[in-house]
């Protein structure tokens, strides 16, 4: 039985339907990142789980029991809010301890646990400060400590890194997985940052249009997104989209991209005759020197070096733009001008133009990152 079992959840506010039949199972000890663009109801889902809102329809099972009607204080959940929601009239210590005082813990035990979690999160020196006197990073750690201190077996984290500066976010992105693994809780982590989602989650649940569009490991979500909508959410720069109409030539599927004929693997044969959108990850495109067959003639317009990689903006025949990225350690030409681009056929994504769903090649074994 899953630790968190969400079935066909509906929730609307006035006429605005936010969740439309959302289902999701999370196993015990698993870290799932809930990812989606802003306004898709990630926070609403967390609040439904915490018992702050009641669902219009559908069920939420916690630890194998139906949570309907159970108030927030009886759910035994730890939660960190995006806006921290610290108690302004209490010191950081009392803020953290608030999760223990309700559970009738001994005073000595409370002090010990607060000290321990404060040490873990490096806020021991500010425990006597009021929230007003804390920096954003310290506030965020205090809020996290408050959620962690009672060792809840279910932890809901609502974009805790949203309001902290870039340096701290980077640090926390490294620290959090260790911390969460140590807590051994079942974690649902909301984020709007695909890198965070991929770095932290055992699985990523992609929330789109009030439903979980896909819930899978970060690798599979990236390599085998179910739809064009999911694919576009991951990757920086985002994937290139080119409209193509595959056809069979001598029994092999071929597409026309920027004037160049590209032969797809045989597993794409079934796509022939349909109208598709080709998705090309920027890192699957390579600048090549030799004008070999299956390469696209482009005009390299701009090169943006970003330390660990360079982003290349190219235009194809007909004016369509292509973004390619090359790892920074390679010798990337800084010169613009005409060139050729080859694509990694293993990383090609083909989406049905009408439904947006990914075309699954007949033989799926060869697809990897």
């Amino acid at each position: 039985m899953a630790q968190i079992e969400i079935k066909d959840l509906h929730k609307s506010f006035k006429d605005d339907a936010v969740l439309k039949g959302l289902s999701l199972n999370i196993e015990k000890g698993e870290i799932v990142t809930l990812f989606g663009p802003s306004g898709t109801g990630k926070t609403v889902l967390l609040r439904l789980l915490a018992g702050i809102y009641a669902p219009d329809a559908g069920t939420i099972g916690l630890r194998g029991r139906d949570a309907a009607g159970s108030p927030p204080d009886k759910r035994g959940i730890g939660m960190a809010f995006q806006n921290f929601a610290l108690f302004p009239h209490m010191t950081a210590r009392d803020n953290i301890a608030s999760a223990l005082t309700a559970r009738k813990t001994e005073t000595g035990e409370i002090a010990r646990k607060v000290e321990a979690v404060a040490q873990l999160l490096k806020i021991s020196h500010v425990l006597e400060h009021s929230p007003r006197e804390l920096s954003n990073g310290q506030k965020q750690r205090t809020a996290l400590a408050r959620a962690l201190v009672a060792d809840p077996d279910i932890l809901l984290l609502d974009d805790p890194l949203r309001n902290v500066d870039a340096k701290l976010r980077y640090e926390m992105r490294l620290e959090l997985p260790v911390l969460l693994k140590r807590a051994r809780s079942t974690v649902l982590y909301v984020t709007q940052d695909f890198k965070e989602a991929m770095a932290l989650g055992d699985r990523i649940a992609v929330l789109l249009d009030g439903e979980i569009a896909q819930c899978d490991t970060p690798e599979r979500i990236y390599a085998e997104p179910v739809s064009i909508g999911v694919a576009r959410l991951f990757g920086d720069p985002t994937l290139n989209l080119v409209e193509v109409e595959p056809r069979l030539v001598d029994g092999a599927p071929e597409i026309l991209v920027g004037g160049a004929t590209i032969r797809l693997p045989a597993s794409y044969a079934a796509a022939a005759g349909g109208r598709y959108t080709l998705g090309l990850r920027p890192e699957s495109l390579r600048l090549v020197d030799a004008p070999a067959s299956g390469t696209i003639a482009v005009d390299l317009v701009a090169v943006t070096p970003l330390n660990e990689k360079s982003v290349l903006l190219c235009t194809m025949d007909g004016g369509d733009e292509l973004l390619a990225s090359e790892a920074g350690d390679r010798d990337v030409p800084r010169r613009t001008g005409p060139g050729r681009v080859a694509l990694d056929l293993d990383a090609v994504l083909l989406f049905d133009r009408a439904s947006g769903r990914r075309f699954a090649p007949a033989d799926n074994n060869g697809v990897g990152l």
Partner: protein, 285 residues
């Protein structure tokens, strides 16, 4: 520190002095009057030089008013006590009723909630005299005329809407997430109300309480119609200073000084609760 010129500083000090004198003059004048006899007050031209006397205070506290027409018994100290009792009880009751109600109106949208809140506010619009006639008839039937309970009840017309609407605004300013966080930490709804909502709305509750105390203290008509001599507050009791031999200005002045003192002390005490910005920095954005 900017180096403002001497002229500027002198002008600023002068202006402040003028403003302070303008606002404090009546109060200072009354304070001076309270230490003068009627004859000293009424002499023409008025003069600031006089031999201070405590006769006015003595007369008020002992309850014997000495006029040129003879001695008169007044119950000023009893009136003062009534004022303290009535205003305090009325405000305490209004806080007990009003704060939870304000919380309900701020946090929950229930059927007719806005209409009920507005109806309660509209009690403040109605001229008291309009309500008084039917009210005194009902009070007679209920046996509430000339009782402390009856007066405290009527005072709710003054105190309750004020507390309800001021405190509601403060509750609305508290991010619900702060309360949600406390609930999720495992605390009951009631505990959250007392440990989070009430302390955070503290400045608002103090301000509303103080304001309604002042309004109750200054009320005149309700007590005039609904209470007899031994239940009357100072505002009504002050009528006794209009005597057959004229108005006793000295005693009126000292009565004002005495009746202002409790409210002034309360305001000074409550000042430290009136600090704003307690919730600053709790919630981002």
């Amino acid at each position: 520190m900017d180096r403002s010129s001497i002229v500027e500083r002198v002008l600023r000090a002068l202006l402040l002095t003028v403003i302070v004198i303008f606002f404090l003059f009546p109060i200072v004048w009354i304070l001076l009057m309270s230490f003068q006899t009627n004859e000293q007050i009424l002499r023409i031209p008025p003069s600031l030089s006089f031999v201070p006397t405590l006769d006015n205070y003595r007369a008020l506290i002992s309850g014997h008013l000495l006029t040129s027409a003879g001695s008169l018994d007044i119950a000023f100290m009893r009136n003062l006590g009534n004022s303290v009792l009535l205003s305090t009880c009325a405000v305490v009751l209004a806080l007990i009723l009003g704060v939870p109600a304000a919380y309900a109106f701020a946090r929950f949208k229930f059927w007719l909630s806005e209409d009920i809140a507005f109806t309660l506010l509209s009690f403040r619009f109605a001229p008291p005299l309009l309500v008084l006639l039917p009210l005194s008839l009902y009070f007679q039937d209920l046996g509430l005329v000339d009782t402390y309970v009856g007066l405290i009840w009527v005072y709710q017309l003054i105190a309750l809407p004020l507390i309800l609407w001021i405190v509601r605004g403060y509750f609305e300013d508290i991010s619900p997430d702060i309360e949600n966080a406390y609930r999720i930490a495992g605390h009951s709804w009631l505990r959250t109300f007392f440990k989070i909502a009430v302390p955070l709305a503290g400045p608002g509750i103090a301000a509303a309480g103080l304001l309604s105390f002042i309004f109750c203290w200054n009320n005149f008509v309700f007590a005039l119609i609904l209470a007899s001599a031994d239940k009357q507050p100072v505002t009504v009791g002050a009528l006794a200073f209009v005597t057959a031999s004229g108005i006793q200005y000295g005693q009126v002045a000292s009565a004002i000084v005495l009746s202002v003192t409790p409210t002034l002390l309360l305001a000074l005490y409550a000042q430290r609760w009136l600090v704003e910005g307690l919730s600053l920095g709790a919630v981002k954005g």
